[in-house]
């Protein structure tokens, strides 16, 4: 019998738990030649800001053992161009689209959510609070529970769409952040964003990235991500989307055991543009091979 792969996150029905992570999947269309976009659970867009954003100077990426560092700097077309130029393609795809949004100020987060509220093809918003904000005296929304709660409350008020908050791992206690977002009205949490890292060119005695530091992703961060998903799942009632170095179906299933309802595939999309579809397919095969009727049976089913 075909296992039931469907899950639900904050009222959005997904045909399977596999989503594509923001910043690794463009606006979806980039991957249409390589995979069937209707074989995955959801598409999450590149982070959108109010105005088009140039991003950082190059080099922006560098490979590291088991991972990569990136400092793209949120280059994106801006919310208006997204709605006018990118959303029409996504409308033709029968897969939920989640818009990732990023503001420089509290007000910008609110404004973005208000604009997306009217965009029919957007099923939910994912709030990126994991990037530094200099406008508020160096406060980083993603590492200060009070600031994070303010952003979430602002977005919550601006849209009736489900609000997913993407958490940064660069904190002392991620549970504190998770609780703050939950209390402020988040419908779901996605974690983790990249871990801050750095690479140095010994010969040149210079940082490799023009931005000096960047975000580490890929298999290297999976153990950290698993631990944080497990911690947050035990502490917070909200559904969790696990992210961090997922390369295979087995990796994805481990995140479910740790307590995630769904997962996001990020860096793996770069290695293999069909990765998300392959992972979804192989998760289903794992369930079939192991006589598991429903993928939901695995969520939080870790044995001690």
């Amino acid at each position: 019998m075909k296992p039931d792969m469907s899950v639900e996150i904050a009222g959005i029905k997904l045909r399977n738990p596999v989503m594509t992570a923001s910043g690794t999947f463009g606006y979806g269309k980039e991957f249409a030649d390589y995979m069937d976009l209707e074989k995955i659970g959801a598409i999450i867009t590149k982070g959108l800001s109010l105005r088009p954003k140039a991003g950082n100077p190059t080099p922006r990426i560098v490979e590291t053992p088991g991972g990569m560092l990136n400092a793209i700097g949120l280059q994106n077309v801006g919310i208006e161009a997204f709605i006018a130029e990118k959303a029409p393609f996504l409308r033709t795809i029968n897969t939920p689209v989640i818009a990732n949004l990023y503001g420089n100020t509290l007000e910008e987060y609110g404004e973005l959510a208000r604009r997306l509220d009217k965009v029919q093809e957007v099923a939910a918003v994912e709030v990126n609070i994991s990037c530094p904000n200099v406008k508020q005296g160096g406060i980083v929304f993603g590492t200060d529970p009070r600031a994070a709660a303010e952003v979430v409350a602002m977005v919550r008020e601006a849209t009736i769409k489900p609000v997913i908050v993407k958490l940064s791992p660069n904190v002392t206690d991620i549970v504190v952040m998770a609780n703050a977002c939950a209390e402020a009205g988040a419908d779901a949490l996605s974690l983790i964003n990249t871990l801050t890292g750095m690479a140095i060119d010994l010969q040149k005695r210079r940082p490799v990235l023009a931005n000096v530091t960047g975000g580490l992703s890929g298999p290297a961060i999976k153990p950290v991500a698993l631990r944080m998903v497990w911690q947050v799942a035990r502490a917070v009632k909200l559904p969790i989307i696990g992210i961090g170095g997922i390369m295979t179906a087995n990796d994805a299933l481990e995140f479910l055991l740790a307590g995630a309802t769904a997962v996001q595939i990020g860096t793996a999309n770069f290695l293999d543009p069909a990765a998300a579809q392959t992972i979804a397919m192989e998760m289903e095969r794992y369930l079939a091979d192991n006589g598991i009727a429903d993928v939901k049976e695995l969520i939080g089913a870790l044995r001690y």
Partner: protein
């Protein structure tokens, strides 16, 4: 498209430089000069990312190992610079590779009968060979090629066999003239050499010098860029270059993988 290729041959053509020929689906016969491939050198996570290579050649052959008729092959030219390329160098006939190809936009060949100039440095020569094969069908082609030393000047015989006239420059003077290939190019242009188009591929400083020459001589010029990239399909935004009108307030970044790797030199900001 994504496909599995089988290694046909993998030969060291000069110290540290290899030509890797592999099978390709028949669709690759339509690949344009200047397009590139992303190679996954193994199935593990080390190295993690694919490696981009310009297409050196595409053609067809009749395999000895099976009775399958005429097959398409694709060839890359690469230099061993790190772990990924070292792993490539260790491959043998019969090994398999996961490929994304053809990627990006290629060269616009220009009109038939016009004289063409190619400028290449090191492995930057790779896409120029496939281009030369096309151009020599109806144009006179001159190649200016540069390298650090004589072992960095590759495949000259192959170009000459196509009927391409070659000019060589090396930094240490061990082959051709001593100096930069762009100096040789500039001298030839001053001495009356003409062309309707310049096609260039190589390290960024060489391309910048070629772009400057094109600007001075008003000869149309297309450059093929190299860049760090993760995905090759326009998603990671790791490989961007500044477009001509780029400013912080009105961003105009171009993806080398998707908008290039070939650009009209006037499309870009040269810094």
């Amino acid at each position: 498209m994504q496909y599995k290729a089988m290694v046909i041959s993998n030969q060291e053509v000069s110290s540290g430089y290899y030509r890797l020929r592999m099978t390709a689906p028949k669709e690759l016969a339509e690949a344009k000069p200047g397009q590139f491939v992303m190679v996954r050198v193994n199935n593990s996570i080390d190295p993690l990312l694919r490696r981009p290579f310009g297409i050196f050649d595409v053609g067809s052959f009749v395999p000895e190992y099976a009775d399958v008729g005429r097959q398409t092959y694709l060839e890359i030219l690469y230099k061993v610079v790190g772990k990924g390329t070292a792993m490539l160098a260790a491959l043998h006939h019969g090994d398999h590779l996961d490929m994304l190809a053809p990627l990006g936009k290629g060269f616009a060949p220009g009109d038939a009968g016009e004289e063409k100039i190619l400028v290449g440095g090191g492995v930057g020569l790779a896409p120029l060979y496939y281009l030369a094969k096309e151009l020599v069908k109806n144009s006179r082609v001159h190649l200016f090629v540069g390298g650090r030393s004589r072992e960095d000047v590759l495949c000259i015989t192959e170009f000459e066999r196509l009927g391409v006239e070659t000019y060589v420059a090396t930094d240490d003077g061990t082959l051709g003239e001593r100096g930069l290939v762009t100096e040789v190019l500039e001298k030839q242009l001053q001495q009356g050499a003409t062309a309707k188009t310049i096609f260039a591929c190589g390290p960024y400083p060489m391309l910048r010098a070629v772009a400057a020459i094109a600007g001075r001589t008003r000869i149309p010029c297309q450059v093929s860029l190299e860049a760090y990239m993760a995905c090759g399909v326009g998603a990671c935004l790791g490989c961007v270059m500044k477009g001509r009108n780029h400013t912080e307030a009105t961003p105009d970044y171009r993806c080398v993988c998707k908008d290039g790797p070939v650009f009209d030199y006037q499309e870009l900001q040269w810094d």
